[in-house]
Every structure is written in structure tokens, then in C-alpha cells.
Amino acid sequence: MTETLDLIPLAPDEVTLGVNEPAWLADLRRAGLSVYRGQGLPTVRVEAWKYTSLAGLRKIDHVRDDGTLGLSDWGGRGALDLPDAHTVTLVNGRPVGVPDALPVGVRVASLAHLLETEPDLLTPYLGRGADLSDTPMGALNAALMADGLVVLVAPGVALDRPLHMISVTEAPDHARHIHPRHLVVLGAGADATLVESRVTAPGAAPTLTNMVTDMVVGERARLRHLSLANGGAEAVDLGLTTVTVGAEAAYDAFTLTLGGRLVRHEGCVRLAGAGAETRLRGAYGVREAQHVDTTLRVDHAVADTTSDQVFKGVVDAGGRGVFQGKTLVRRDAQRSDGGQLHKALVLSRDAEVYTKPELEIYADDVKCGHGATVGELDADQLFYLMARGITEADARALLVEAFLDDVVEAVPEGALRDAFLDAVRAWQARRHAVTWQA
């Protein structure tokens, strides 16, 4: 059955997917559906979606993914290469197997499975991250979520190696919409590194992924969250991540977006305890009809909290980059420190960049700032490199990598950083191939 995304032809009762779902979940789904029905697919008339149009989705008949597809023989193309990580692969949001050899106190499981067997475990967290009325797509996810990954790290436990979550989109037959729902909870004093690769199986039909990830970082805990969005040329990848950071805890994110036709990452980080910190770093590369939107919102809910957003975009011919950063400092959040920076490197005249910084400050003793720049490659630097015999293509690639250098530094040195740099280089090599053909 196909359904247009404007009119989900379901009665509220039909939304409940699992037979034995607890009442709170049914309520959550109903609330989500009612918000989505009220607001519909966001349009550019909605302030938060001013620069990102989903109109193209209406032209495609999507079917809701039924969760039956397995992993095709796709060979890992586009995912980060992290042989030493704990790895879990998801197909259309559904984990296929879970890693063994996890340390005691770390649980990695399928959301669907936990909802069936231990729903009480999820009650305190699921759907508590964001106000649904602010986010119609998040509301739609609440209504339709079927599965996803749950990661629970017990208090004081450190995950020994990164957990690599490879999300593969499979759509061999026709366009699909999928609504993965992930949950990551770190107990007090816990420590973990979560790495995500999001890729599309070769030859997949256009697919809408409408993902929501809720994260809770307990007191004194530390979560590093690194992700690569590397979807296929037709992929529409919408993601909402909500993070609650407890006292003296830290949430450090790095997001690299290189693939997908239309990608929007919405990050909402709430610094909920004194001494909470977040560093949000990211880079994106867009070209040829790609559109990448990064929309961040950091909420300094209490005093003595720190945030820092630095995003860099490389925008080539036909690409569009959007950065909307908001820092909210509530009345009691004295001594908050919040920074925001977006820098775009434009490689072609035919490229577009939109930046919207927002500071909303109600406390008086705060240190907050924002900055944005749009620049081109430096002609003197390019000539200097070429005057040493480096080809123009290689010189440009070196300068692009140099431009991204200080955000990529947010990725821990070693195998992790190498894997991300490899992804950047592969992206650059594709440009050379294109340029060379032209």
C-alpha cells in the first residue's frame, strides 16, 4: 500500500504496531500522530524549515517499511572502516544481530525486542527528549517508530572500544519511508564512544529516513558521538537527536555529512546539570543537487554550563549548505559559556550557503558569541602548492582538508580519525573524477 506523506490514512488506533505495547507508548504514538496531522509535512513557511524544502517528497510514492528486509550483499561501501570496534548493523532501522563481547554493564539491544520483553526499562526515557509540538517529523517518528537500537551503559562502566552502528537503507523494490528510533543512556560516571555510519545499499529506490535518537548522559558521564552520513544520491535523511546532559557530564559530537540528496540533522542538547558541557563539531561536503541542513539548539537550562558549536561546510557546484544554530540561556543559567561558528568554503560560483545564528539569552552573566564566514580557496595558497609541482586537483584537495582540519581534530586520533579522513578523501576523489570527465 502506498501512502502520501501528507495524509497518513490511519486511524489513531491503527497506529499501535506492537500488539502488547504498554499504554504509555500508545499514548505517545497518538500524541505524535495528532501533532503530525495538525502540522503536516513542514514547508518553507515554517521558520525552522525556511531553507529546507521537503516538497520533493510529495512527488514520490513511499511505502512504509515493513521491517522484513534483510541485509543485501552490499559490501560495506561508504561506511567507516573500523575493524576494531564493537559493530552492529541495522537494516532500515532494525538491528540484525547485536555485538557479543560487550563488557559487563553494557547492553545493546533492539528497541522492538525490549518493548516486547522489558518495556519498563524504556519508560523513563522514550519520548522524553523533545516537545513533539515543536517537531512534526519527530512526532511522526513517535507515531510510526517500529525499531531501532538501544544502548544502555550502567553507572561507572566504560565501554572499552567504540560501538559502531552501521545503518543501511535497503529499498530494492520501491521508495520507502522508515522511522528508526534509537536510545542511548549512560549512567552516572559512565563513558562511551558511539560511532554511526549511515549508508544506502547500491541501487536502492529513493527512501525517506526519519530518525530520532534520544540520548541521556548521566552525571559525570561522558559520551562521544561521531557520525558519518553517507547516503546514496537519492536518499532523504532527516535526523533529530535529543540529548540531556547531567551535572559535570559531557556530550561531544562530531558529524560528517558527505552523502544523501537532502540531509537535515537537528540536534537539541539540553545542559541540565551544573558543569554540563557539550562540544558540537561537524563538517559537510555538498555538490550536485545535494542539500545539507544542520539545525542545532543548545539549551543552557542551569548555571555553569558550557557549549561550543563549530561547523564547517565545503560547498561545491550545485550544492546547498544550511546552518541554523541557536543558543538558549535560561534566566537562572548564570555563568553560561556558549559559542557558535559556521564557516563555509565555496568551491564554485554555483553554490549556496545559508546561515542563521540565534542567541536567546535571559541570564545576565554569560559569555556567548557567534560567527559565520563564507570564503573561497585562497589563490596564493593554491599557487604556492602548484609552484611545488602539486597538481591543481591535489592542491585543492589539500586545502579543503586543511580547511576541515580543526573540526576533524575533534575525532580522537588514531583509527577513528583515519576512518573519517578516508571518508573525506573518498569524497574529494569523487570530485576529481567528475572534474576530469568534464
Partner: protein, 253 residues
């Protein structure tokens, strides 16, 4: 065959078309060192930039042949791979690109063009260390991004270090002596002299006769207002030091 043959070269700024070089001719044979002196704004850097292929200038007349081939037909990177090296008057800082990565990429670009395999990591390190030591470049500088945070003199030493690593056939040194202290001048001149050889040619731009005490030129040219107004042996440099450029005011007009 001449290594570099410049014939009646005319060049103008691309932006606005202001003529800078107004008919320069000179020939450098393998093994020769030519010095170019002249007042500020005469066109010395423009001459070296046009030879190296810097964008922003248009050649409006004349020719430049290098080893028998039309140099002006090549892009800057191809000229460099063919063995032309410009030591910049103002070396460019490139944050985010490590000096060692940059040097290795440059060496391998040349090797690739010559159909040779990439340089071995160990050989590269060995050569870099040896050259750095000879030129008084401290290792800490090599770990930094290209030219970033280098003092004026350090940048000039780094230029000569790059030259030594890339082993060009034609070296264009644009005021490599400016910014160097007295001891460094000696060290850098020794570095340049070490590269002198029967196969290599050099064009040394300088304002100071002192450099030419160390790097003794075969020919000295005086460039005034885009023209070579006089050429001679190294005694010409002493003469300029004593009498300045006023004597050529008429010649330039």
C-alpha cells in the same frame, strides 16, 4: 642548449592591463648563476612569477623557453615538475597542511610525472633531516603547518630547504636574503651554493651586493622599469652599491 631563454618578454597585470615587463631578454646556460638587481617596483618579482606561471599576469609579447620547450604553454604545476623552482619573496602560510606532508606530496608529484615510484618514508625522513640540519631549520618547524608561525628568516630558510628537497634544475630566488640575519645569510648561501652544479641554473634576485659575495654570480643584470638596462659581471653589483640606480633614470624613461 640554454637552460632558460627569455626573449623580448612583455607582461602586464591581468587586472587593468598595466604593463610591467617591457621587453626582457636573458639567457641562462646550465651551470650559470645570474643575479637581477633593481629598484623597488622595477618588475623583478614579476619576472620570476611569470617564469614560474603565477596567475594574474598576461604575457603580451616575447617568449620563454626552458630546456628547449615553451615554458609559457605549461601550467605552474607542470613547470615545477619540469624542474622550475621559485623561492618566494613572500612565502605563503598554509594552516592545516603539515610541512612534511606538503613536501612529500610535492616530491611524489614530481616522481609520478617522471614515472618513478613514490619516495620511501625512511629515505624522505633522512633527506629532510639532513637538509634541515644543513640549513639550520629546527625540527619543530617541520612539524608545524607550512610556514605558519615561522619568522621572516625562518620562512626563507624553509624555502631553500624545499629547494634542496625538490632538486630543481632552474632555481629562481626572489630576495631569499631579505629577512636573514648575518649568520643565517651565510648558512642559506652555503645551502644554495651546495646546489650549484654544471646542470643547474639560477636566477638570484637581490637588493644587496653582500649576498653576491657568497653566491658569486656569472652575470649581473640591472632591471629598471621592466627593462634590463645593463648587464655585466659581478663588479657591476659593487658599482650599483656605490652609485645607486639614479644613473639609469634616463635609460628607463
Amino acid at each position: 642548449m640554454a637552460l632558460l631563454e627569455i626573449t623580448d618578454l612583455h607582461a602586464a597585470l591581468e587586472d587593468g592591463g598595466k604593463p610591467i615587463l617591457k621587453g626582457v631578454s636573458l639567457t641562462i646556460r646550465p651551470g650559470e648563476v645570474h643575479a637581477v638587481m633593481g629598484p623597488n617596483g622595477a618588475g623583478k618579482s614579476t619576472l620570476s612569477n611569470v617564469i614560474a606561471g603565477r596567475p594574474g599576469f598576461v604575457v603580451t609579447g616575447g617568449s620563454v623557453t626552458y630546456d628547449g620547450q615553451d615554458l609559457l604553454a605549461l601550467d605552474a604545476d607542470a613547470r615545477a615538475r619540469a624542474g622550475v623552482f621559485l623561492a618566494f619573496q613572500y612565502p605563503v602560510e598554509i594552516p592545516g597542511v603539515a610541512t612534511a606532508t606538503f613536501l612529500k606530496t610535492a616530491i611524489n608529484a614530481r616522481r609520478k610525472a617522471a614515472g618513478e615510484p613514490e619516495i620511501e618514508a625512511l629515505e624522505f625522513l633522512k633527506r629532510m633531516k639532513a637538509n634541515a640540519k644543513a640549513l639550520g631549520v629546527v625540527e619543530d618547524m617541520l612539524k608545524r603547518p607550512v610556514n605558519v608561525g615561522f619568522s621572516g628568516g625562518e620562512k626563507k630558510r624553509a624555502e631553500v630547504l624545499q629547494m634542496a628537497m625538490l632538486e630543481p634544475r632552474l632555481c629562481l630566488l626572489d630576495e631569499t636574503d631579505s629577512g636573514l640575519d648575518i649568520d643565517a645569510l651565510r648558512v642559506v648561501a652555503d645551502g644554495v651554493n651546495a646546489l650549484r652544479g654544471p646542470d643547474r641554473g639560477m636566477l638570484v634576485i637581490t637588493h644587496y651586493q653582500r649576498l653576491l659575495d657568497y653566491i658569486v654570480p656569472d652575470v649581473v643584470h640591472v632591471l629598471v622599469d621592466g627593462r634590463i638596462v645593463k648587464s655585466g659581471d659581478k663588479a657591476l653589483a659593487l658599482d650599483l652599491e656605490a652609485h645607486g640606480y639614479a644613473q639609469f633614470a634616463g635609460a628607463a624613461a
